[in-house]
Structure formats: structure tokens, C-alpha cells
């Protein structure tokens, strides 16, 4: 396993700007085509409608399943290996997430997931923890 990477210096202005997305897990639902998407960018990923068409849509309580995954033994993780892969939400959104509380014997493509608010990283420069959402098996 690699050593712990040197801590990035968080862009606090970005954190302020994106606090709904990052802390509230607020995706955008396109009012033009219906696609739910995370993160929200300037245009809809599906129909290219402008960001003004994206309505807030919280993913925190939405159901999801494992689309792909691996156990990463190379990247530093406090509790190796790091499980990482795509969470496919039932509402159509999809994103690369860290999987936590994994029982390797019972985990695989198709496993059901629920969202958990967890520590993502410690910003050593500023001395605080950053949080984001991770996905855990429902079992």
C-alpha cells in the first residue's frame, strides 16, 4: 500500500459554493429530460439543458445498487483495502463512490446500498475534517 498522500489544501470558496451538493448530497433533476445527475454542472449531462433546468434532488435517502467495484489495495486507506466503484441509483443517477462496512463474502455487483455521511479526508493544512457520502450495503 502507498503512503498517505500529502493532504490537499481545500479550496474553501469551492466548498462554500458547493455545500448543498457535497454535504446535502443534492443532485440535479433535469426538468427538461428528467435525468438525475451528480454533480450538477453547467449543462444537463443527458440533454444539455442549462443548469437553470436542474431542480434540487437529494440522493441521501435514495436506493442504489453496486454497478462495478474493486478492492483497492494500492491507495492509502486507514482500513485497507478501500472498496470503490459505481453506485447505480434507482432514480437513474450514477457516481463513483467509496463503499464502507463491506463484508467481502456477501458483496458484489448488484448488492443493495444505502447512503452514509462519513469523513472523506482531513485537511491537515487547515486542521479540519471534510465529509462526504459513502455507500454501505443494506444487509
Amino acid at each position: 500500500m502507498r503512503s498517505r498522500p500529502s493532504s490537499a489544501k481545500t479550496a474553501l470558496t469551492e466548498q462554500y459554493r458547493s455545500s448543498d451538493q457535497v454535504y446535502g448530497f443534492v443532485a440535479g433533476k433535469c426538468s427538461s429530460c428528467g435525468q438525475v445527475q451528480f454533480p450538477q454542472l453547467a449543462y444537463c449531462v443527458s440533454c444539455q439543458a442549462p443548469a437553470s433546468a436542474l431542480q434540487p434532488f437529494c440522493l441521501a435517502e435514495e436506493g442504489a445498487r453496486v454497478l462495478t467495484y474493486t478492492a483497492d489495495s494500492l491507495m492509502f486507506h486507514p482500513s485497507p483495502p478501500m472498496y470503490i466503484g459505481f453506485a447505480q441509483f434507482d432514480v437513474g443517477a450514477r457516481l463513483l463512490m467509496e463503499f464502507v462496512d463491506v463484508d467481502p463474502a456477501a458483496f458484489g455487483v448488484g448488492s443493495r446500498l444505502r447512503m452514509r455521511f462519513r469523513i472523506k479526508e482531513r485537511d491537515e493544512t487547515r486542521g479540519y475534517y471534510r465529509y462526504f457520502w459513502k455507500a454501505a450495503p443494506t444487509g
Binding site: 502507498r2 498522500p5 490537499a8 481545500t10 479550496a11 470558496t13 469551492e14 466548498q15 458547493s18 451538493q21 457535497v22 435525468q35 445527475q37 451528480f38 454533480p39 454542472l41 449531462v45 443527458s46 454497478l67 462495478t68 467495484y69 474493486t70 478492492a71 483497492d72 489495495s73 494500492l74 491507495m75 483495502p81 478501500m82 470503490i84 466503484g85 459505481f86 437513474g92 443517477a93 450514477r94 457516481l95 463513483l96 463512490m97 467509496e98 455487483v109 448488484g110 472523506k120 479526508e121 471534510r130 462526504f132 457520502w133
Partner: protein, 398 residues
């Protein structure tokens, strides 16, 4: 209507440094090794080069940002030089820039060069990079093998492939490249490895073991391009021309929504389809004499055989185990050892692939020489399978 670049650009000289742990030279020295060979091969003088495209990815551990360091290293005085970066597809991007300049008529002779100096970091694998201020707040920080290992899970799920069967197939991918690498004097890893060693190696990112991952290396490669007419006027008889150079970049679809299920790389399919169209290839399996693909990880090469429309969907495992892509197979793949064994200095790899195809086409590949090669393909991938860049080139005899 656009007509593409088929046969509008000839490669008249190529060079490639020795790849590997090059403690003996800096980036400038690597660039010079590739450049000197290309210049001698082309039979021209430095002052005849009218523009250059210089690719490198990790600027902070190379010669630095901008085109100035490459222009200074190679003493390219006062001509337009552009520095470019498109992750691991950077080398092909450099070739594309130079080729487009010649095809447009903007210049007569152009240089493409790519380099990377990874070993001076004292760090195994690739350095961790920021992915942008917003992405850094939410994207999990996985390793490169973890990004590509997603393909193994997606592929197994889609085609119901047993883990051990997939492991054997991707093991064969690396076994074959190690066999080939032995015959490449400039390769980083020149050692045959047994299937037993490959299958029992430590796991890096499940199911990828140590031998499923390519080496990262120091190295540089270069190409000098012009029009076929000027090439002839320079006395060149056997001409290698570009039949196609195509690129596809993710817009976020695979990683955010849609049909992608992890079993293929959409960008490769886009770029390959366009490249075949540009080159006039309608049966790639029958027409391509060799391929150099982006085997950053063995699973990448496996799905690439389907993404290039060489194996039918779901049949790459059996084709690989049947030896279709071995040295003596129907479509030899990684005849020079590939990223796996020739090495992977990020900014140089696309041009290194072209270097092997170019030499094979001209019958200059030494003990690696394949019989009757008239058309070859390079496939250069950047980023990760679900958010990346794919570049596909076709080179052939004119």
C-alpha cells in the same frame, strides 16, 4: 465535406529513447535521444522543422510547464512549439497536432515529441493529482488500477464470466507481452514470466495482480511528418502514411448516467469506428496486420479487443486464450512488449506505439519483424475507462 487525413501526411522519421529507470539522464536527455534518431531517420536538418508539438503529462516532474523547456532542450529556435497534455493519450495528441498542421498546409515539416520522467519522483506508480476543486470534495481517491479494475467487475457481470477464467485470460495478456518484451532492446522489462508467477502475484486492485499492471517508466519518442509529395522529393521510397487519427473524450455520460455497464470503454468504440471510417477499413480483423494497444492493465487490453471490433462482444476471453493476439496469432498485439513491458512514460507512449508500427511497416523491426505488414493500429487511452480519452490511429504503407 471533411475528407479526413488519410494519405495526406507521411511519417519520414521516428525515434524512441530506451525506456526504463533512466537514472543516467534527465528529460532533456531523453528528448534528445528520440529526436536525434528521428532526425537521422528523416535525413533532414533541425532547421527544416517548421513547427512542433511537445507532449508531457506530469509537468512538475518533467522539464516544467509550457513548450519552452522542450524548445530549449531540442534547440528549436524561434518556431511555433506547443506543449500539450491529454493524460495518457498525450503522445498520440502530439502526433495529431503535427499531422493536422501538415495536412492543412500550414507547414511542410512538423515534429511531434512526447516524454515523461517518472522515476525522479522516487514514487512508485503515478503521483496523485488534484482532479479539480469540486471533484476533490467528493470523488473517492482510488488508484489507477482501481479505476481500471471496474472493467473486470462490469465484464464479469455482463457476460457471466467466472473470476478464475477472467484471471487466466488477463494473465495470458501479460504473459504474451512479457514474451514479446524480451525481443525489444529498448524495453523497460525484458524478462519472460511464467503464468504461475502471474496468477499468484499479490493483488493490487481485485482481480488485478502485480503482473496485470504495466510499469511506469522514463522515456521519450518522436515523429517527423510531412506530405507524401515532399517525402518523395526528399528521396523517400517506402512511405508510411497516416490513414487515420481519431480521438474521443468523455462528456460525463458513462460516469453519471446511461447504458454503460462497466464492460467496455465507450471512447475506444467511438474513436475506433471513426478511425476505421477515415481509413476506409471495413473488416479490421482481416485488414490489420498488427496492433499496439493501451495495456495499462491487462483487463484494459481484454476489453479493447472488443472495443476495436476485433473480438465479438463477450468473446475476448476465448480469443485471448486461443492465442489470436499472440506473436504468431491472427492479429499480433504488443509485439514490442506494450505498456506492460516496453514501459509507460505517459507523454511518450502514443508515439512509442506508432514507432513500433512504423518500423514493422518498413521491415525494420529486427527479430520482432512480422511478415507482410501493410496496415497497423495504435490505441492510446487516457484517464479512466468511464471518464477519459481514447485515441486510435491507423498507419499504413502508401
Amino acid at each position: 465535406m471533411a475528407t479526413g487525413i488519410k494519405d495526406k501526411v507521411a511519417i519520414i522519421g521516428m525515434g524512441c529513447s530506451r525506456f526504463g529507470e533512466r537514472w543516467d539522464v534527465g528529460t532533456e536527455g531523453l528528448l534528445a535521444e528520440a529526436f536525434d534518431e528521428a532526425l537521422a531517420d528523416a535525413g533532414i536538418e533541425r532547421k527544416q522543422i517548421e513547427a512542433a508539438w511537445a507532449g508531457s503529462c506530469f509537468d512538475r516532474i518533467n522539464v516544467g510547464n509550457s513548450a519552452i523547456p522542450a524548445a530549449t532542450a531540442l534547440r528549436l529556435d524561434g518556431i511555433p512549439v506547443s506543449r500539450l497534455e491529454n493524460m495518457c493519450a498525450t503522445g498520440t495528441e502530439a502526433l495529431r497536432g503535427a499531422a493536422y498542421a501538415v495536412a492543412s498546409g500550414a507547414v511542410d515539416i512538423a515534429l511531434a515529441v512526447g516524454s515523461e520522467k517518472l522515476k525522479d519522483t522516487g514514487y512508485g506508480g503515478l503521483p496523485v493529482q488534484t482532479k479539480g476543486t469540486l471533484n476533490d470534495l467528493w470523488l473517492p481517491m482510488g488508484s489507477a488500477p482501481a479505476g481500471f479494475a471496474q472493467l473486470a467487475a462490469g465484464y464479469r457481470a455482463r457476460y457471466n464470466v467466472d473470476r478464475d477464467d477472467l484471471k487466466r485470460a488477463i494473465g495470458h495478456v501479460s504473459w504474451k507481452s512479457h514474451q514479446n518484451g524480451v525481443h525489444s532492446p529498448k524495453a523497460h522489462l525484458r524478462k519472460a514470466v511464467s503464468m504461475e508467477a502471474i496468477l499468484n502475484a499479490p493483488i493490487i486492485a481485485e482481480p488485478l495482480g502485480l503482473y496485470d499492471c504495466c510499469g511506469v517508466s522514463d522515456g521519450a519518442a518522436a515523429a517527423i511528418v510531412t506530405t507524401p509529395e515532399i517525402a518523395r522529393s526528399l528521396g523517400k521510397r517506402d512511405l508510411v502514411t497516416l490513414k487515420a487519427v481519431q480521438l474521443s473524450v468523455s462528456s460525463g455520460q458513462e460516469s453519471t448516467m446511461g447504458e454503460w455497464d462497466g464492460s467496455y470503454v465507450r471512447n475506444t468504440r467511438n474513436a475506433a469506428a471513426r478511425a476505421y471510417r477515415e481509413a476506409g477499413i471495413n473488416d479490421p480483423r482481416a485488414q490489420l496486420g498488427l496492433i499496439e494497444v493501451h495495456d495499462c492493465f491487462s483487463i484494459t487490453e481484454l476489453v479493447t479487443m472488443e472495443d476495436l471490433f476485433l473480438s465479438e462482444d463477450g468473446h475476448a476471453v476465448t480469443d485471448i486464450l486461443d492465442g489470436v493476439y499472440d506473436r504468431d496469432g491472427k492479429i499480433p498485439c504488443q509485439i514490442d512488449g506494450g505498456l506492460k513491458c516496453f514501459g509507460h512514460p505517459i507523454g511518450a507512449s502514443g508515439l512509442r506505439m506508432a514507432y513500433e508500427v512504423y518500423n514493422q511497416l518498413l521491415g525494420r523491426a529486427g527479430e520482432r519483424q512480422l511478415p507482410n505488414v501493410s496496415l497497423g493500429l495504435t490505441h492510446n487511452l487516457g484517464g479512466v475507462p468511464y471518464l477519459g480519452v481514447a485515441a486510435v490511429s491507423v498507419l499504413g504503407l502508401h
